[in-house]
């Protein structure tokens, strides 16, 4: 029996050799694939256990997000210094629910796996230090952020504020209310995370929606800046005479009387006449925000010119990242590639006053104001100022990026003049700051819902200051709760306070 026993012994060796050969194959050919598989939590968990970099503000280096040591397996817990205030910027970092904001967009920097940190990682490996993530300096000016947030929350408003440096595209403030506390989502206690997530996602106010870059609102009269830009580029000027009728029929294009209640009759605010003349100049139409004038002007320009100007301002851009992806702004329906289509003739009239299918993010509207402020040159909005390695050496620095000339410098000047008039009109009964600084602005009160006259509108305010040497451009939107709310009454002062904060005033 010994011969077959020896053969069985040999067979046993072969079986183990097969196991070893197979394991070798796994290690040599498949290990990388398995290691990198997104379903392999190990890499992720290792990442959580690494000391994540900080998110810091530009001015005076306020730490917005950092880590504190814990004695559990994840080692470090994310801490947000002023969670709800900066949540639209930092986002959150949750073991269960993933991440958002800068935490997500610049994750590779913060967790230290970015290739640009490679050399430092290597030296960490040699010196035996725990690898640490890089730091992200954001362009946010804490004073601007705080002022805007306080202005919105003091009034109990639901809305957003975006403030840009028109010359560089730096995002100075990006506020959304109501907000959420990312600290609760970073909790290492599973139950706390789940509880917070459930609370925020079930809240009808939708606090986790970053209204500044993800909220899309009908721009209302603020869109007249885009129509005016198209008209100026088309050869008209601020004295060009426009329709002044109380109402305009969106099918025939003829003047109509809004008081007869026809749904075809697009009317001025309160059904009034535009100015005192037979016709009204573009300047007057901007100052008084006449709807009929711009509806008719939009129709005169035609769909192509309106669309061209809109896309030059960045509307319809699906790839804008700041570095978080920004929701696309549209002038057409938000489906099936119709984003830049004006669906029919009545829609073209309504597009002229920023209604119907037109929908902009607050960031997009701020970018329009900033472009006018910057003499017609559109700057890419950016939230990241600098990327620093763990030892605070600079890895990449801020570089302004010009996205192209939207309107000529002269036309930008004409628009600024018209916006100065508009601001004076808004401040006829006094406003915040008492015109200490020359502000150029435009308000908007966008109707929404099936019965617009009974639904509280979106109240807009866009502007920049100082008008002759703009340092800041803002867009404010408030989802108002009163039917009588207007951009001037509700949003204007919030925008002005934000701009004064940016200019270093009170």
């Amino acid at each position: 029996m010994n011969t077959p026993l020896r053969k069985v012994g040999l067979a046993m060796l072969v079986m183990v050799l097969l196991l070893l050969a197979n394991t070798t194959y796994l290690e040599v050919f498949k290990a990388d694939e398995y290691r990198a598989d997104p379903r392999n939590q190990r890499v992720l968990l290792e990442e959580y256990a690494r000391q994540r970099g900080q998110i810091v503000s530009q001015e005076n280096g306020q730490v917005l997000a950092s880590v504190k040591s814990t004695n559990d397996r994840l080692k470090y817990q994310r801490v947000y210094a002023n969670g709800p205030l900066y949540a639209p910027v930092t986002g959150f970092y949750s073991v269960i629910y993933g991440s958002k904001g800068i935490e997500r967009a610049d994750d590779e920097i913060l967790n230290g796996s970015d290739d640009r940190l490679f050399v430092r990682r290597l030296s960490d490996l040699i010196t035996g230090r725990d690898p640490r993530g890089g730091n992200v300096v954001v362009t946010i000016n804490p004073k601007v952020q705080q002022t805007a947030y306080k202005a919105l929350t003091d009034r109990g408003y639901r809305g957003a504020v975006v403030a840009l440096n028109p010359k560089t595209g730096e995002i100075l403030g990006m506020v959304t209310t109501p907000s959420y506390d990312p600290n609760t989502l970073a909790s290492h206690t599973r139950d706390d995370q789940v509880k917070a997530w459930t609370k925020y996602t079930k809240d009808p106010a939708n606090p986790m929606l970053d209204r500044a870059i993800q909220g899309v609102y009908a721009p209302g009269s603020t869109f007249k800046l885009v129509i005016a830009s198209a008209a100026l580029e088309d050869g008209r000027d601020k004295n060009t005479q426009l329709m002044a009728a109380n109402g305009v029929d969106v099918i025939s294009g003829q003047p109509c009387d809004p008081s007869d209640g026809s749904t075809r009759c697009l009317s001025n605010y309160g059904g009034s006449h535009c100015g005192s003349g037979q016709t009204a100049s573009m300047e007057t139409a901007i100052e008084l925000s006449c709807n009929t004038a711009f509806a008719d002007l939009s129709h005169q320009l035609g769909e192509d010119k309106v669309r061209d100007m809109a896309s030059k301002y960045g509307i319809g851009d699906q790839d804008l990242e700041i570095p978080m992806p920004v929701e696309t702004s549209c002038i057409g329906p938000r489906n099936d590639g119709q984003c830049m289509d004006v669906v029919d003739a009545p829609a073209l009239y309504q597009t002229g006053i920023g209604q119907r299918d037109v929908g902009l993010t607050p960031l997009q509207n701020a970018m329009i104001a900033a472009t006018i402020a910057n003499g017609g040159d559109r700057m890419r909005p950016q939230l990241v100022e600098k990327i620093l390695a763990a030892d605070l050496t600079t890895i990449s620095d801020f570089e302004p990026e010009n996205l192209g000339q939207v309107i000529s410098q002269g036309n930008a000047g004409q628009l600024r003049d018209m916006m100065l008039k508009s601001e004076q009109h808004s401040c006829a009964n006094g406003c915040y700051g008492d015109n200490k600084v020359a502000i150029a602005s435009k308000t908007g009160t966008a109707e929404k819902g099936v019965d617009p006259k009974k639904t509280p509108p979106f109240a807009w305010y866009v502007g920049f200051a100082p008008a002759d040497n703009p340092q800041v451009a803002v867009a404010v939107v408030v989802e108002s709760r009163e039917v009588t709310a207007t951009g001037g009454k509700v949003s204007g002062d919030i925008g002005r306070m934000t701009m004064y904060a940016a200019l270093g005033g009170s």
Partner: protein
């Protein structure tokens, strides 16, 4: 040194007889000293492993670990003393190999316990109970059983007369879970348990050994029958059709286990062992070929008929593709992720995430070892099994009686076969079948059964090296060398 060799043990034995303790002047070296040293080494290894886990898991280091290590050594020292008393000529490496594997298993189970308790803590799951204390308890019980087997079976040949009894009990044990209602026998889809109030046992683990004894006894007594042939085909001597009975019976039992208990692993294991024993008993390759054909046929039919078999095969072909299916490749994929992440040297004991693999402390303990000890560690563990099985095989070669040869060979092969089935399944070499890794995995039945297996192997190896005359070495007072008589030694035949 240079002790006279009085029987047919290989010459190597005499050369290796380094530190010899309790060596009778007329017998070969017992080499119990070697065993003790190796056991101490095993205990040291296990203690070091435990320390690594605690360091990496940031547990407070204390002398506690040293006490655990010493306790472990003490438990195996008792086993060693038993071997010294009741099987003094047994192979000195078998017990240390088992000690290393069992100890490493305990460390791994403890390590997974730590991770699971943390998960349970964050989920506030109060049902969590640590597996380590139970496994320690089972280790002690197993060693007690081990002592009992060594004590009561002082000659493995006694078992031969219980062959049919063993066979009957084995079949009954195998069939119990299938006959019981699912509530008493099913865990995670496999109907292989016998749930008693206080504990669950897997009767299949014991059936494996009982059937092995039966087949060894049966084949030895009926050996001539199977050697008879009637014709040759393709150079192979085919057995007579009526002699196919036993293999068909084994095949039927395997298929029964497969179908009724959904236990692919045990089915494969039992069939493989029977095939191997038939081959050894008859020295005919034809048995292996017939067996393989039956096996392939059985697999094909099972694949066609049962969705769970199809699922296993799909999971084997591409676990990542069936990742999200119910009963899909999630577990295998997680195991592969672990082994892949571990890489060549592993993450280090206690520094990986083996707890992400379901059943990490039982069926998938090989994946946990691959992750934390890496390819190197997994290879080392596999080689310990090879040493264990080859030492067993060596004893089978050396033992004088056919029953001992067949039983020893079968037991040794069973270890490797089981290892192949489970590690092959975890590493995606063959479809995953769900079976424990001997000595490493958490599970009382598996541990108890495998300690019985080892006791039998030690008994056979003891018989292989024991001198003919007298069952115990005579104790002769050592006289100064100058006064010693010249001893006549008979040349081995």
């Amino acid at each position: 040194m240079g002790a006279p060799v009085s029987e047919g043990s290989p010459a190597r034995d005499a050369q290796q007889a380094g530190s010899v303790a309790g060596q009778g002047p007329s017998g070969p070296p017992t080499r119990r000293g070697t065993e003790l040293v190796m056991l101490a080494f095993a205990a040291g290894l296990v203690t070091a492993a435990l320390m690594l886990v605690d360091v990496n898991q940031e547990q407070a280091l204390s002398l506690r670990i040293l006490w655990y290590g010493l306790a472990y050594l003490a438990v195996f020292a008792v086993a060693h003393l038993a071997v010294r008393k009741w099987a003094p000529y047994a192979d000195p490496l078998i017990l240390p190999c088992v000690a290393v594997l069992n100890g490493l298993g305990l460390v791994m189970i403890y390590r997974i316990d730590l991770a699971m308790s943390e998960v349970a803590l964050t989920k506030q799951d109060e049902d969590f109970s640590a597996a380590t204390p139970k496994q320690v308890m089972w280790t002690v019980v197993s060693l007690a059983l081990f002592l009992g087997v060594l004590r009561w079976f002082n000659d493995h040949r006694k078992l031969q007369s219980y062959g049919y009894t063993c066979g009957l009990v084995g079949v009954v044990l195998l069939a119990i879970p299938a006959a019981l209602p699912s509530s008493l026998s099913e865990v995670n889809g496999a109907k292989v348990w016998l749930k008693l109030g206080f504990a669950s046992i897997q009767p299949g683990e014991f059936a494996k050994i009982l059937l092995l004894i039966f087949f060894a006894a049966f084949l030895v007594s009926k050996r001539d029958l199977f050697m008879a042939t009637n014709r040759k085909v393709l150079g192979m001597e085919l057995p007579r059709a009526r002699d196919l009975g036993p293999i068909l019976l084994a095949w039927g039992a395997s298929v029964g286990v497969l179908v009724l208990e959904k236990d692919l692993g045990t089915s494969l294991l039992i069939f493989g062992i029977v095939l191997m024993m038939l081959y050894v008993a008859t020295e005919r390759v034809s048995w292996v070929v017939i067996g393989m054909l039956l096996f392939v046929g059985g697999c094909f039919i099972a694949y066609k008929l049962f969705t769970h078999v199809q699922q296993r095969v799909a999971n084997w072909l591409d676990p990542l593709a069936t990742y999200n299916d119910p009963g899909g490749g999630y577990q295998i994929a997680q195991g592969l992720f672990g082994i892949g992440t571990g890489g060549m040297a592993g993450t280090g004991l206690g520094a990986g995430r083996p707890d992400t693999v379901p059943e990490a402390n039982t069926d998938f303990i090989a994946a946990a070892i691959g992750e934390e000890l890496g390819f190197i560690g997994l290879t080392a563990v596999l080689l310990v099994y090879v040493v264990l099985a080859l030492r067993g095989m060596r004893s089978a070669l050396a033992v004088r009686d056919s029953f001992g040869k067949l039983l020893g060979g079968g037991l040794s092969f069973a270890i490797v076969m089981q290892l192949f089935v489970v590690v092959g399944g975890v590493t995606k070499l063959i479809p995953m079948t769900g079976i424990t890794t001997p000595f490493l995995s958490y599970g009382g039945s598996s541990l108890l059964a495998n300690y019985i297996l080892v006791a039998l192997l030690l008994r056979i190896s003891d018989a292989a090296r024991r001198p003919h005359a007298g069952s115990k070495p005579r104790i002769v007072p050592q006289a100064p060398i100058a006064e010693q008589h010249t001893v006549m030694v008979e040349r081995p035949k």
